[in-house]
Symmetry: C2
Subunit: 346 residues, 2 copies
């Protein structure tokens, strides 16, 4: 299988893909030359098309229909043909402005990021909150509320804050709680979960219970998909003609709805990649059955070593990759800056 394309073949492949992305219709040789006013004939196009078909970049839904890009075709296009595009500057400014207005509220950033991604890419979007790769204890607060109920607020490195309600066996005064918290704060500051576990066992039963919860929480916060999942634009994918058959659409959306599936996907892709880069998964790459006819564009963002998260979009394989990739890249960069500022600013 030869993979040296002539310039003309590259052009034709690119045009076929561009046209198909627009129209969702198989594209034929005649309509192609007419539409793009090519200065060679349809027969020439046909010849190149058989070559491209033999190389696995195009296929025909049936004999004597136009050509449609294969997954391989899209991949070649994305890697070699597409050229580097960027979001228009005004769009960028608008987006930045929106984030600026949102203040320093991570939760709002996440919602906003999901919303912007969904809107810009006209696809379903997904954002996970930033969390540290290694959890480091920073601060603990114990606040009594009603009776035996206590609210535990745990601050970890990377700005991760988790709160948890717990019921004590017996009432404890706020003073006692504060004392325990202060003791833990002194002993544990700067430690990882492992470090905390290595501490000599405290004699105080309450302190011991709390420490156990703290360690648990620290473990939880370093899982791949640790916190809340932010999604948006799920209905966009329903608008695409390829999902007229519904079953495909259901499977794709299930992937975003069911945490285990999603966790698997993220673990095996973006987690294994260097941060900053944008990953493009086309058609499930043979591994994810539920992604047939879909593509996913993912990126990690955040401050490496401190806290990172993931973001991306899911859309039909027939998606405008240029725009989508540049959107994802830009958003990852923007969120990285924001997170970094938040964590390092003095």
């Amino acid at each position: 299988m030869e993979t040296n394309l002539s310039e003309r073949q590259k052009l034709i492949l690119a045009l076929v893909i561009r046209d198909y992305i627009e129209t969702a219709q198989p594209v034929g040789s005649v309509s192609l030359v007419k539409r793009y006013k090519l200065d060679f004939s349809s027969a020439t196009v046909r010849n190149d098309m058989v070559a491209l078909t033999e190389m696995g970049f195009l296929r025909q839904p049936h004999t004597s229909a136009g050509r449609v890009p294969t997954e391989e075709g899209y991949r070649y296009f994305v890697r070699q043909l597409m050229g580097h595009t960027d979001l228009p500057a005004p769009t960028k400014r608008t987006i930045i402005h929106q984030f600026y207005q949102a203040g320093a509220d991570v939760d709002r950033w996440m919602h906003l990021a999901a919303s912007v991604l969904a809107h810009q890419a006209q696809a379903a979007s997904l954002v996970t909150a930033p969390h540290p790769e290694r959890a480091i204890f920073k601060h603990l607060e114990l606040i009594g509320t009603h009776g035996r109920q206590v609210l535990m607020v745990l601050v970890l490195s990377g700005g991760d804050v988790s709160q948890q309600m717990l019921n004590l066996a017996e009432p404890v005064s706020q003073e006692q709680l504060s004392a325990v918290a202060q003791k833990i704060n002194q002993n544990c500051a700067g430690l990882t979960e492992a470090g905390i576990e290595r501490l000599k066992q405290p004699t105080d039963a309450l302190e011991q219970d709390i420490l156990k919860l703290v360690v648990n929480e620290m473990r939880r916060s370093t899982r791949v998909v640790a916190g809340e999942l932010y999604r948006d634009g799920l209905t966009h994918v329903l608008a695409e003609p390829e999902f007229g058959e519904m079953e495909l659409a259901r499977r794709a959306l299930r992937l975003l709805e069911e945490r285990p599936l999603l966790e698997d996907l993220l673990t095996r892709t973006v987690l294994a990649s260097e941060p900053g880069g944008v990953q493009v998964l086309i058609g499930g790459e043979g591994t994810w059955e539920e992604l047939r006819e879909c593509s996913v564009v993912l990126a990690r963002y955040g401050a490496p070593g401190l806290a990172t998260g993931t973001l991306g979009v899911l859309g039909p394989m027939r998606m405008p990759y240029g725009r989508t990739i540049s959107t994802v890249r830009f958003m990852a960069g923007l969120l990285s800056d924001l997170v970094e500022d938040m964590l390092t600013e003095g």
Copy 2:
């Protein structure tokens, strides 16, 4: 339009609806008598059917097709014909057990509730976190993290906890922060937002800023849809045959995805109703265009006066109302108990 149905007409209406809910096919007189072994003839059924059609409870998709229930038909069915059903006891026990295992974690309750609703009703589910109708200040904590960054944790009555990161103009030591927090705690304990605003202006600029944020946060927490929204089972509605046309499905799911729409819906329905009761909205009731072909079953839950939330499911109009309503009723009751226990237990 006469609305006095004979017993037989009620039976026929009920059977038509039951059959249609199962099969999604228009149901004819002959197949009805055959299927349910009725001891009167198809001609009799036909006569009653024209009556029911004239009364607006049934309609024919086209001449000489079977009958299909109208929205009015469903409403009559739900109000008069359906009888009170309840979830089977083993199912209940299983659900209760799951919640028991989840501990006292409200976030987990919400996820679980959405998941259970979606699964039991085979429809899209929605749960909002419980929040107080009137926010009452309980406790404030200020925790310095990096440099000028401060984490503000605010505890309100009803177990509402909100956290917010803020950037100060200049660095402030933890001691100062604690002092401000303690002062605010003393002054504001038990006050509503209005009460806090009536306090004489503090001289300390920092204190003043913090108080402004606190009041803001208290306002936010009393909005109809205050906190996070928990959704599940969105893909279930895609499986229903009536959404083969996609456009209907998109509109319905948009309702769950876009907060303003949802807020409007909840405001005008469940908010206006007495808590405890289950509300059934059939076919948008002429008000919500996006709910054509859909029904929504909603309920409020929580401890009245302390904290309440909303939960419900959205499915096709052709939904098993008995099961759905009992599920929603049960879940509302269960969550109410849990929330009440959490808030009042000593």
